[in-house]
């Protein structure tokens, strides 16, 4: 069997070539055009001397693009060629882009219009020898030795270029997520894992050719994998809204007659706060999929009012186990986790196994709280170049490989799983995973101090609105620290406020007491 992620698009390009595949406000492609663009990119990649397999794994192709038709073409072109795609956020600071480039040994880089301004001299000097970028001629004119530039729009069609044969164990994509040490970690996901998710989700969500799906997610976040590949599996169309226009999402969905909504819960919270989420605002939505954060009861109620004809589902799954592994259908009365104001994680689907374990990795019985562990075909093959972390987070228990999620959870007597917190300092900010230690590390460096800590703040209706940083010092230059943090980290990891605190509170383990810091903010003392 060929596990190539592009095979559905290939099939639709023959059977339904005139159907819409992907659209933005500036560009639309039918399946025929989408396949044509992808195979041209594929042929360009495959004829490059840099496109070589290493240790049995395919070449890696960076995608410096997001939320555009060009980003979708880049992903599809890389997939068509049988490569591993590695999204690199076009809004990331130069430092972060250089770190990711240094970690993943790319064979080629595909740049969308939104990524061009990131192609600085420093980034270019760290780039692979093949770059597909708008305005390639201007880059070629710089005379950089050893790098070939091509313009995606000017590549010749390659009619006979069929999707490369891809094994199930072949890595389809690598996503970088926050790491406690200050360096992001790359999560590698196999083609068989993606196939299990896409097949299950497309069937469960009853995705159909007439569906029109919204894309509100960055390519660096795996909700985008679900949006893209479930939509294309069904022969439906994906409608992309750039990040800067995300708060126009309700109008966009209505104008484009969209039928499927997919986002993190905190986005609809923000839409509600600007009053864009009015009752009956989206009668055309038939299905709404939420994942990435706890889905609270008050958001579900607001969403049910806004989308009177929608089925609502909550999905759960860490990046390390491929997009999602459990599903919970939400109907009246809204199901809630005992003692909490948010919906359950639900139950796993075929190919996934969930269990609750204690600190020694022993399985715990129903009704007991412990760490949520996941196993099955959707398990990542591990973090890039991190054998110690892999041994710790992907242990063998009773002869089977598991992923220890760090989420605290319990399973009730009906088999439903419930999220109850974290065992560490990983938090979600607008659905983005943040290890607070990574923020701390950079705060210490930037503020040139030994002690610094970040906390989530404020939290409104159970939803994290942002981060506040504390620095163990008498006085600081807040604006300078924030500006320096922006040069190092993605925007969602940068505290909106940084405060000086001479006497930082410590807990009995000698660590900065984040709860005490949050209480200081709560009490208004600071």
């Amino acid at each position: 069997m060929n596990f190539n992620l592009s095979r559905a698009v290939y099939r639709h390009s023959i059977d339904n070539q005139g159907s819409l595949a992907v659209a933005s406000d500036s560009r639309e492609l039918t399946y025929g055009q989408f396949a044509s663009g992808a195979r041209a990119i594929s042929a360009c990649l495959r004829t490059s001397p840099s496109f070589v397999w290493r240790d049995g794994q395919p070449p890696r192709v960076g995608i410096l693009a997001s939320r555009s038709v060009e980003a979708a073409l880049g992903v599809m072109g890389a997939a068509w060629a049988g490569a591993t795609y590695v999204p690199i956020g076009p809004k990331l600071p130069e430092d972060r882009i250089l770190t990711i480039l240094s970690l993943c040994n790319l064979s080629a880089l595909i740049v969308g219009p939104e990524g061009v301004k990131q192609m600085t001299d420093k980034v270019l000097s760290a780039c692979p020898p093949l770059i597909i970028v708008p305005g390639a001629a201007q880059f070629q004119a710089k005379g950089l030795p050893g790098i070939k530039f091509h313009d995606a729009g000017q590549l010749p069609d390659a009619l006979h270029e069929e999707p490369a044969n891809v094994e199930g164990s072949s890595i389809s994509y690598i996503l970088f997520t926050s790491g406690t040490t200050g360096v992001p970690k790359g999560v590698a996901i196999s083609a068989a894992a993606v196939a299990n998710y896409v097949e299950a989700a497309t069937a469960m969500l009853e995705m159909r050719p007439s569906d029109r799906t919204i894309e509100l997610t960055e390519l660096t976040f795996d909700v985008s994998v679900s949006n893209m590949f479930c939509t294309w599996e069904a022969g439906a169309s994906l409608h992309v809204l750039p990040a800067v226009r995300v708060m126009s999402a309700v109008k966009f969905a209505r104008q484009r007659h969209l039928t499927v909504w997919s986002s993190v819960p905190s986005l609809i919270d923000r839409l509600r706060q600007i009053k864009a989420l009015t009752p009956g605002a989206l009668p055309g939505i038939r299905l709404s999929v939420f994942m990435g954060e706890p889905l609270t009861e008050s958001l579900v109620t607001a969403w049910m009012d806004a989308t009177p004809n929608s089925v609502i589902v909550n999905q759960y799954g860490p990046t390390e186990t491929t997009i999602a592994n459990t599903i919970c259908r939400i109907s009246q009365p809204i199901p809630l986790t005992p003692g909490r104001d948010y919906c359950p994680l639900g139950k796993p689907w075929a190919g996934n196994e969930l269990a609750i374990v204690n600190a020694n990795g022993a399985f715990l019985p129903t009704g007991t709280t412990g760490e949520l562990a996941l196993s099955g075909v959707q398990l990542s093959s591990g973090y890039l170049n991190q054998p110690e972390l892999n041994a710790a987070r992907f242990p063998i228990i009773d002869g089977k490989r598991w992923y220890l999620s760090g989420d605290l959870a319990m399973q009730d007597s009906s088999g439903t799983f419930h999220l109850l917190g974290r065992i560490d300092n990983q938090v979600k900010v607008m659905g983005n995973r943040v290890e607070l230690e990574e923020v701390d590390t950079h705060l210490r460096t930037v503020a040139n101090t030994g002690i610094a800590a970040a906390v989530t703040w404020p939290i409104v209706d159970g939803i994290v609105q942002g981060l506040v940083g504390f620095v163990g010092a008498k006085q600081i230059d807040q604006l300078q620290i924030i500006a320096a943090m922006k040069d190092k980290l993605p925007a969602y990891m940068v505290p909106s406020r940084v405060l000086a605190l001479e006497n930082m509170p410590f807990n009995s383990n000698g660590k900065v007491d984040r709860n005490a810091l949050r209480q200081l903010l709560q009490s208004g003392e600071i």
């Binding site: 708060m247 126009s248 923000r270 706060q273 009053k275 942002g466 807040q478």
Partner: protein
């Protein structure tokens, strides 16, 4: 919109920018959100300011970022253009 109101609006946006480490110039035509100079949290703050200060109800609006993307666009929007 009279000059006093427009000044109030400019002052509000300028002080928000400054509080968030942006001491740059603000022209009436400068894009605030499409340019990514301000984020969605800033938008929530701005909308709440517009509601409280100018009495507009965003619940009645078919909201689009472009309606409030610059000082001039906000003026046009508030004047019913």
């Amino acid at each position: 919109m009279d000059t006093e109101k427009k000044n109030k609006l400019r002052t509000f946006i300028k002080s928000y920018l400054q509080e968030h480490g942006d001491a740059g110039e603000l022209k009436d035509d400068d894009s605030l959100f499409i340019s990514a100079r301000l984020d969605s949290l800033a938008m929530i703050t701005l909308i709440s300011f517009l509601e409280q200060t100018f009495g507009v109800n965003f619940g009645d609006v078919d909201f689009d970022v472009e309606l409030i993307d610059s000082v001039n666009e906000i003026e046009l929007f508030l004047d019913g253009g």
